[in-house]
Symmetry: C2
Subunit: 201 residues, 2 copies
């Protein structure tokens, strides 16, 4: 007698679901069993939604945001200020900035950040495209909205070195105490940057 | 100017992923963005695995376990003891029992348990099929392996009432202290059942 196992197709589904971020072996099994136990069409709907996105959603050819058109919603919006260009690491950084409602310009996603440990160099990022946009579009200001970690800093430094050759002012987003955070919860580096970046009252 | 949003297809994918068990709004968004950011074929592989399972995996017509054949691996296994029939609530309860290696008989999944609050009555469960299997297959023992909660108890009582009319002995799995658990962590009901079910040393 063999101990029973799930059919191979079901095991393959568990293996595939396990690849998704934040889904461990137990969640993957739970989701897979929920899918086969489903009495209605929801499982096919999920598969269809994934396939549709895989087939149609791609990066905007100008800024890298997600779109089903050649140019994304943001790049097509003629009411936006073309003189402000905000550089982010990932396309996924754009929507959090949009949700603030505090920015009315255009974006440029680099598609990553310089990280020698991950074998990501400047040539792997959309830096040439950025310089070309600055040369062609003549923005007055490029805002570097990169991560406040080592790789984000390195990437910002590298970009600033290239951009200072062009007639554009370069800024970067502020670092300091997060909103709602007390001093007792902030780490030393955050506090030292908050001190260094202090502004006049 | 409008604040940008994700393309509708991407929002639809987030909505679909959110329906999966254990996946909240933030995980669903994270998984969806991981899928569109993927540079390789993994997204299509996941969709294909889901579609394949939806198309091919169904309940065994005898016991209700998952299979791609008419009868599942367990029901087809001729080395199993046909005189032992273990009744479980869900097909997903079968593999945990298999993994113990402590059971060599056949299973019968009810497809749920009696739960008036969820509008599940006896007529919604595979109880007729169970009685038919007992009448036709002449097992010597039916083991009720149902949950140790109110609905599980009610279902076990209901089944025992029907099965006692048939020439078969009825048992149910033991309730008591979980393995590795100290008395200080057990709730009162578990302890009272462990006491009530005490066995001779």
């Amino acid at each position: 007698m063999n101990r029973a196992e799930y059919p191979p197709l079901l095991k393959e589904l568990v293996a595939q679901l396990k690849r998704m971020p934040g889904v461990g072996p137990r969640s993957a099994e739970r989701i897979a069993l929920w899918m086969v136990s489903a009495r209605n069409a929801r499982t096919s709907e999920i598969a269809a939604a994934i396939s549709a996105v895989a087939a149609s959603v791609h990066p905007c050819r100008q800024c890298g945001f997600f779109t089903t058109e050649p140019l994304c919603e943001i790049c097509r919006d003629e009411t936006r200020a073309g003189d402000l260009l905000c550089v982010v690491e990932q396309a996924t950084d754009i929507l959090p900035l949009e949700r603030t409602g505090a920015f009315r310009g255009l974006y440029h996603s680099l598609g990553g950040r310089i990280s020698p440990l991950d074998h990501v160099g400047p040539e792997d990022l959309r830096i040439g495209e950025l310089l070309e946009r600055v040369r062609q579009g003549h923005p007055t200001e490029v805002i570097l909205a990169l991560g406040a970690d080592v790789e984000g800093e390195a990437t910002a430094n590298y970009l600033a070195g290239l951009l200072k050759e062009l007639p554009v002012s370069i800024t970067r987003i502020a670092q300091g105490l997060p909103a709602g955070g007390g001093l007792e919860h902030a780490d030393e580096l955050t506090l030292s940057r908050a001190l260094g970046g202090r502004v006049k009252w």
